[in-house]
């Protein structure tokens, strides 16, 4: 009981099969209330299947799922009123204006945010009276985000929310998400931008081939091993690379042996992206070995 009260989302051994194809093969994770959790993984890994099961759009083939204390396969209207959903594709190009659409959707929720505040938050003040069909792709995406938050959701699903955003719009979006976090909104985010996950998420899960290959705080994904800095340099024999937890000593050593500045010297701390690519890459390799 305590866990279901404190956890916004609980997923245990979640399975989804389409005929013979296994899309999800025993995924488990928990998202605490107020937490921002990022689900990372390559296309077709099962991110959207997971999020759509939790949104109530798809039925699961096995395992357990609880979203705000409710089985998402049976969530009713009062349950939906507590969620905000930003789908992966915006699709529709309505012939209503941004303000009309938001005002209309605000009416669906018991305690919506102010329409003007939301329009400002997504940076569409100048487009408020423009029909949605006349907006650019990035602007329509902002309308999607606006519709996702208009109902003051307890839990917000963001499925690749910043696709089509220019860098400035992404920064602005990050600010918005930080505000939502500070108000206590729980957020489940999928994204292809690892910097976005690093900026926003408290924890992340990496999903590949329908399995969760790692889960943990953003700073610990992939384990300490994967974060050991790399020293690179060149000499007459070619390019060199050495992983070391003491890069300073390695460099000092290099300088003294070379008797001067080593060519092309760099010390790299693997970014989340490097760690992620390592994880996903090793998973793919394992699969090949199993197949072979």
């Amino acid at each position: 009981m305590t866990t279901s009260q404190s956890a916004a989302v609980t997923v245990t051994e979640l399975r989804k099969t389409y005929g013979d194809v296994v899309a999800l093969d025993g995924v488990s994770f928990t998202i605490a209330r107020g937490e921002t959790f990022a689900l990372l993984g390559p296309n077709g890994a099962g991110k959207s299947t997971t999020i759509e099961i939790l949104e109530g759009y798809r039925d699961r083939s096995g395992g357990g799922a609880s979203v705000l204390g409710v089985d998402p396969g049976r969530g009713g209207i009062p349950w939906k009123a507590r969620l905000g959903i930003v789908l992966q594709s915006s699709g529709e190009a309505g012939n209503v204006t941004v303000r009309e659409q938001l005002t209309h959707f605000a009416g669906y929720y018991p305690n919506p945010r102010s329409v003007d505040e939301v329009i400002t938050a997504v940076g569409l003040e100048e487009k408020a009276k423009t029909r949605i069909s006349k907006l650019s792709g990035g602007q329509r995406r902002r309308v999607d985000v606006a519709l996702g938050i208009i109902g003051r959701p307890e839990l917000l699903f963001l499925d690749e929310p910043t696709t089509g955003f220019d860098p400035e719009a992404r920064r602005q979006f990050w600010e918005l998400i930080r505000t939502l976090k500070s108000e206590g909104t729980t957020i489940l985010l999928t994204t292809h931008y690892l910097d976005e996950a690093a900026e926003l998420a408290d924890r992340a899960g990496v999903i590949a081939g329908g399995r969760l290959v790692d889960i943990g705080p953003i700073g610990e994904i992939g384990g300490a091993e994967a974060r050991i800095p790399i020293v690179r340099w060149r000499d007459a024999a070619g390019s060199h690379e050495q992983r070391t937890s003491q890069p300073g000593l390695v460099v000092a050593d290099l300088v003294s042996t070379a008797g001067g500045e080593p060519a092309g010297l760099e010390i790299v701390r693997p970014s989340l992206e490097d760690v992620y690519l390592g994880l996903v890459g090793s998973h793919a390799k394992q699969n090949q070995e199993i197949a072979a």
Binding site: Y57, D59, K80, I85, L87, N95, G107, Y108, E154
Partner: protein
């Protein structure tokens, strides 16, 4: 703290919410309808265009005489047919194509993830058809009377018949529109799937061609579908009483109109209940 939030947020939503949202949807749908140029032309104005064409093309022909011996003009003859066609187009064709499109473009998926009750959504669609259907019928009747000098009935009981045939027809065709929206596999194929259905119905149900001149087997086929009955009901309002003899069974058979349409109403409700989904869950 957490417990308080949980109790608050799972408290039941206010009563009457479904109706309030249904009314809000009607406003939203009507606005969207008139902003979409193609639906305004092909559904809303189409019967008026056809009435004008027939009235002008056959202006020298007589379509029979009333009891007093006055000739019946083409406009008089085609007005009830176009009113019935308008009901069919506003309901089945407009909603069928519209909802199939909404399925294809993600509108329904978005609505399915929102706390909008399905009933409110249906209310919005049916309300939109009632509002646009009334405007369409009013426009047809006014143009027929003013431009083509059609003599409108003066007997209030005729207008009562018009009211119930029209409303029953509009609501039934709206529900059938929601039902047929499940047929097209994609939003893009919607017009290709649905327009032939309504077109064939119009030809076999006495809208463009005089019903009693069709072969009997075709009349029997058409009698299964609601349009034949709606057109017959409309003729009973706008054509002279003596024209009843030209109908099958030599009477307007308003009881038959009510029963046949009501059966389709019920069938439509059942089909909607069984087939309507915000999204196909595992497509």
């Amino acid at each position: 703290m957490t417990a308080t939030t949980a109790t608050l947020s799972t408290s039941p939503l206010p009563a009457g919410r479904t109706l309030r949202l249904g009314l809000s949807r009607i406003g939203y749908e009507v606005r969207g309808y008139f902003r979409a140029g193609d639906s305004v032309f092909f559904t809303f104005l189409f019967p008026l265009v056809m009435l004008t064409i027939f009235s002008v093309a056959f202006s020298n022909q007589s379509f029979g005489r009333d009891a007093a011996g006055n000739g019946i003009s083409a406009a008089t003859f085609y007005l009830p047919a176009m009113l019935a066609a308008g009901v069919l187009l506003s309901g089945i064709q407009n909603l069928g194509v519209d909802i199939a499109g909404e399925k294809g473009d993600g509108t329904l998926k978005r609505l399915g993830g929102s706390p909008l009750p399905v009933f409110s959504y249906f209310m919005g669609k049916i309300g939109q058809v009632i509002v646009t259907g009334i405007l369409q019928a009013a426009l047809l009747i006014v143009v027929a009377a003013v431009v083509f000098q059609v003599q409108l009935p003066t007997d209030p009981s005729k207008w009562m018949t018009f009211a119930w045939v029209f409303l029953l027809g509009v609501v039934t065709c709206s529900i059938l529109g929601i039902a047929v929206s499940a047929l097209p596999r994609t939003g893009k194929s919607a017009t290709a799937v649905i327009i032939p259905i309504t077109l064939v119905l119009q030809f076999i149900s006495g809208v463009y061609l005089s019903f009693t001149q069709l072969p009997e087997w075709l009349q029997n086929v058409a009698s299964v579908f609601p349009l034949k009955w709606l057109a017959q009901g409309m003729r009973s309002v706008f054509l002279p009483e003596s024209f009843a003899t030209l109908e099958r069974g030599a009477s307007w058979n308003l009881g038959g109109v009510a029963i046949a349409t009501a059966i389709w109403f019920v069938v439509g409700i059942i089909v909607c209940r069984v087939t309507f989904r915000w999204i196909r869950k595992d497509s």
